[in-house]
Amino acid sequence: MKGEQDDMSDDSIEALLRQVGARNEPSAATKEEVRRAVHDEWRTTVARRRRRRNALAFSAAASFAFVVLVAGWILRFAAPEADIAVTIARIDGPVSLSDSSRAARLGDPLTVGASVKTGETGRVAFAYGSGLSLRLDRSSALERVARDRFRLSAGAVYVDAPTNAKPDELVIETRVGVVRHLGTQYQVRQWHDAVEISIREGRVEIAGSDATTLAAAGEKIRISHDGRIERETISSQDPAWDWAETTAPLFSIEDRTLDEFLQWAARETGREVAYASAEAQREAENVRLRGSIDGLDPVTALSAVLSTTDFVQYEAGENLLGVRLAKEGDD
């Protein structure tokens, strides 16, 4: 009886809310503008508060440890604000950073205010914060406008935000709006008359000046500069992802298990690992790898590594990386 009442009540809540209609939402552009201003003020307030608290601690302890505390105080204030580290994890071909006169190298940071450009044959991957990857295709330009904001002015950027990574915010600004990820792999490509956002996994939110659009895995959404939106489907195995795979940050296999390597290769190629049996999975978790796959893209690395083990690939489905023990196929 209680269940019936609840059902009836739920129905009436739905009917009432539909009658009332949605509340007005301020525009995404207004929201972003206010967010930026309030965020800046908040950071200033927090920094001021920290300084005040540290100064208080200093004066309380000054009577017995003056010299030591002065040193500590100076060190503390000399330290920069916590930032998100964004460093080059892979580089292929000509790539330049605006704050450096030489060609970019592995390990170079992309600092706030600086931008990165790739030449006609250049591609680059950045490690971002705790586990995210940011990759730039050929003939692309990306500026780091704030610690967690990037502005794409040409070409394409690919973002890989694994679900087990810390949720560092990463926002891509484009001519048609701001793209924010909700745990995902996606790419944003800037065309002369439109911006194209393709989602391989998860979801993204695109906040334009008039409306916010959500797009989910398997969708390619094209937003013209005049605001027109077109949607189509895109497979996680579509050739459009190939460039991002070949720009995958280097993966060190030394002393990693075969299972760890397979999980990496599967993610980089838009798939999930499917073991043919529990025994195969157990074995893969126990096999430890030695050597290096530097310079190989994930697909080539997969073939190279498996050829040194007792495992082989098998057809398990479009979005699956099927792996079995070689002997299982002999049965």
Binding site: D10, Q19, G21, R23, K31, E33, V34, E41, E169, R203
Partner: protein
């Protein structure tokens, strides 16, 4: 995802980015909707007032003691900002009369956030009822208002709601159940009636 307001404020004071995001995403739209009709639905004025409100709020976070709900505290700041704005722009607020600004309704709305004694029902017309229910959604704790709107107006699935909030399916389902309960109780507090009775009243007034 239930917002413990004092804990949220504490971690914002400690400089936690996630908490700032949660604060902004939870309260920005609500404060905007609070301000909008009070500045004559002028979008520029509204943006200025809301930005000033939230800026003042983050500057004074240390003074928030949790004695009222965080949203009530923000509304209080917003009221002052609106008065300042109207004074500075030599505008009069007299023409803006909102149902939710009536003292008895305002008290009842604040009672939704900190339940006290029940208020007597009021005879309202259809537009006023609609306006008030939208205010109720804004006054519900956490992001219950958003969850109800996503589910029942936008028709989103529990999975989608979970993804929007960054929580799992079970947590989203339980949040939706808590949101329904809070909404029912709020209607009872404010209107002294169930959703079904309010709906019937609205439809009979067409």
């Amino acid at each position: 995802m239930v917002v413990n307001e004092l804990a949220l404020v504490k971690s914002m004071l400690a400089g936690d980015e996630q908490s700032f995001r949660l604060f902004f995403d939870t309260y920005f739209s609500r404060v905007y909707r609070f301000a909008s009709p009070r500045v004559g639905a002028d979008p520029d004025a509204c943006k200025e007032v809301v930005q000033a409100t939230l800026t003042k709020a983050v500057q004074n976070l240390g003074s928030f003691r949790g004695e009222s709900a965080l949203f009530s505290w923000l509304c209080q700041i917003c009221r002052h900002e609106i008065v300042d704005y109207l004074r500075a722009h030599k505008r009069r607020a007299g023409h803006v009369v909102l149902i939710e600004d009536r003292p008895e309704i305002r008290a009842a709305l604040e009672a939704i956030e900190a339940p006290a004694e029940e208020q007597p029902p009021h005879k309202l017309n259809r537009a006023q009822t609609k306006e008030l229910i939208q205010s109720v959604l804004d006054r519900l704790p956490s992001r219950y208002g958003d969850v109800l709107e996503w589910k029942y107006i936008e028709g989103r699935s529990v999975e989608e709601i979970g993804e929007l909030l960054g929580i799992g399916h079970t947590a989203a389902q339980s949040m939706l159940a808590r949101a329904r309960t809070a909404f029912r109780e709020a209607l009872e507090t404010l209107f002294g009636a169930t959703a079904q009775e309010i709906l019937a009243d609205m439809l009979s007034g067409i």
